[in-house]
């Protein structure tokens, strides 16, 4: 076949300046992202939260565990912006430290779900067959028949209270959703002509899976993942609220809320601020997720 190579040997001329395609892609994606104003707001807030979580010790005016029995449940003031709690701790500082827990919980549990869900979903969807239909799908069906919070609760109870275990539990609960989503995407894509073309050019299965199908399914996965992060933050807070999440004295928004609920009338700020922060965080991650959806959708200019 070597003769084909030398069929013609014209000079190859490249006209104009060639931009790095990835940079260009990135630019257009950013362009799409920035079109969605709310997503930008969400993104900025998310970024601030991450910043807050990373540098909490420099931002928080007090130690989150510093107790002051003279100042129990004092309302918001210049010294204590968000007031103090039932042990006289500064709620503002605790909220800032709580960001760490919440973000960690969101990211790690979704990370776990992705780490398990992506390979299983890919393989299950691509190869189909007995294992896919009768084992993996039925197990995910069964897992999805559980109310997620109940499953998370039971798992957290089994594993024992604590942030680490709560994250594992939430991760496990999220996994079947990802398996389903990824499998469905793979099923849709494996019939697409570009995959067939990939096979027709003699690519190996793993290469098609990892280099062709996976990147193309990334958009819905990313969107689902951001939404799942938001959901996982709420779940972690719920578990903490029920006493199965973060352990004291580590401040977590969920357990702060749980504590605050007992003092709704005496000190409403105790429940208010951690709640507001969960809400804002989840909201901005959701907004950001919407933005990512737009960003990854090549149909939008």
């Amino acid at each position: 076949m070597a003769q084909n190579l030398t069929v013609k040997n014209q000079e190859i001329q490249i006209q104009g300046k060639v931009e790095n395609p990835r940079v260009k892609m990135f630019k257009t994606m950013m362009g799409r992202l920035f079109q969605n104003k709310l997503a930008v707001v969400g993104g900025i807030f998310t970024f601030l939260l991450i910043f807050m979580a990373l540098f909490s010790q420099y931002i928080a005016p007090y130690e989150p565990t510093e107790q002051n029995y003279e100042l129990i449940m004092s309302p918001p003031s210049a010294d204590h912006w968000f007031g103090t709690d039932e042990l006289g701790r500064d709620i503002f500082s605790r909220v800032i430290y709580g960001a760490k827990v919440s973000l960690q919980a969101g990211l790690i549990s979704v990370g776990i779900a992705l780490a398990v869900g992506i390979p299983i979903g890919l393989i299950s969807g691509y190869y189909r067959g007995f294992w896919d239909e009768y084992v993996i799908m039925r197990i995910t069906d069964a897992m999805l028949a559980f109310p997620p919070l109940v499953l998370a609760l039971s798992l957290a109870a089994v594993l024992g209270a604590g942030l680490k275990n709560a994250m594992i539990a939430i991760g496990i609960v999220l996994t079947p959703n990802f398996i389903r989503l990824i499998r469905a995407e793979v099923l849709a894509h494996r019939e697409r002509e570009y995959v067939e073309a990939g096979r027709a050019t003699g690519l190996r299965d793993w290469r098609i899976l990892l280099h062709h199908i996976l990147p193309n399914t990334m958009a819905p996965i990313m969107v689902q993942a951001t939404l799942a992060i938001a959901g996982a933050i709420i779940s972690e807070a719920s578990l903490s609220y029920l006493g199965l999440g973060t352990q004291p004295p580590t401040p977590s928004w969920g357990s702060m809320l749980a504590a605050g609920q007992g003092y709704l009338e005496l000190a409403p700020w105790m429940a208010l601020f951690p709640g507001v922060f969960i809400f804002l965080t989840v909201m901005s991650i959701n907004l950001f997720g919407d933005g990512i959806r737009d960003m990854l959708d090549p149909k939008l200019k």
């Binding site: 190579l5 069929v7 060639v18 570009y194 027709a200 003699g202």
Partner: protein, 336 residues
Amino acid sequence: MLAKEKQQQQQQQQQPLLEVKGLKKYFSTGGTGFLNKNKKYVKAVDDLSFYVNEGETLGIVGESGCGKSTMGRAILQLQKPTEGQVLFQGKDISKFNAKQIRELRKDIQIIFQDPFGSLNQRMTVGSMLSEIVRVHKIVPKKEELKYIQQLLQDVGLNPEHYWRYPHEFSGGQRQRISIARALAVQPKLIVCDEAVSALDVSVQAQVLNLLQKLKNDYHLTYIFISHDLSVVKHISDRVGVMYLGKMMELSNKHMMYENPLHPYTKALFSAIPEVTTEGKKQRVILKGDVPSPLDIPTGCCFHTRCPLATDKCKMEMPEFREAEKGHFVACHYAGV
């Protein structure tokens, strides 16, 4: 023209490049459940036999759903045939293992219809092509870029398109990319599955010319699948007509277009709206719809719509026979 025919005849005496014998592809419907007793089959391709000689273009026409694409996929072993042999250069590739099939990909390629769906949206043209080149080790790494850019020029694109994503191209350009992808491994045979159907006429003409040119430049053999008879006729040397998974008629295109034997072929020809300045032509309008491939009529599968159908047609399946030299037809009455 005459020389070309002679050459073809010589080749016929040699071994054909690809030979398909009794190819069948059935799809079972209704899932794979264990509780499913009455499984039905879509007989998408049912007992196809034909050959393709090196350097020629075999056109396949037929209405939507008649199994053209399935045939193409079965030939490439993208879908394992249910039955039958596919001989490529004398070797039965339907028995190949995964590794052999990967090797085979260097020789047989396919171009798909959908200029949007057949390219990976998340890869640049360059990375897509270089992946193939690398996997099959077509050229040494340092020549890769040059090789691919050469390829892009050959299919009428610019070298700088190497760095572009598919969505930045028009339909016709994308089809050129697909062609480049198929050419990248320097195959012997390319199956074009409705490669120009989605394109506008002006662009279609451009791509058809390109395919012709590449065929000569790269010494290619085509199986050209289309539902457009004029396009098939334009590009092919021989033409096969399919109906409900079966080959109805197969012959040299001149014989076929000048003297179609099968009533279906005749009806098909007469149904094509043609640009004429004279009055409207006399046409055979077939009654009814194409039957569902789930329950194909008994006997001759065309008898439900055939203006000439007799009781024999309902009962007996006609044999795919050579009515004239090189002119095969599956009809009890044609050309007798």
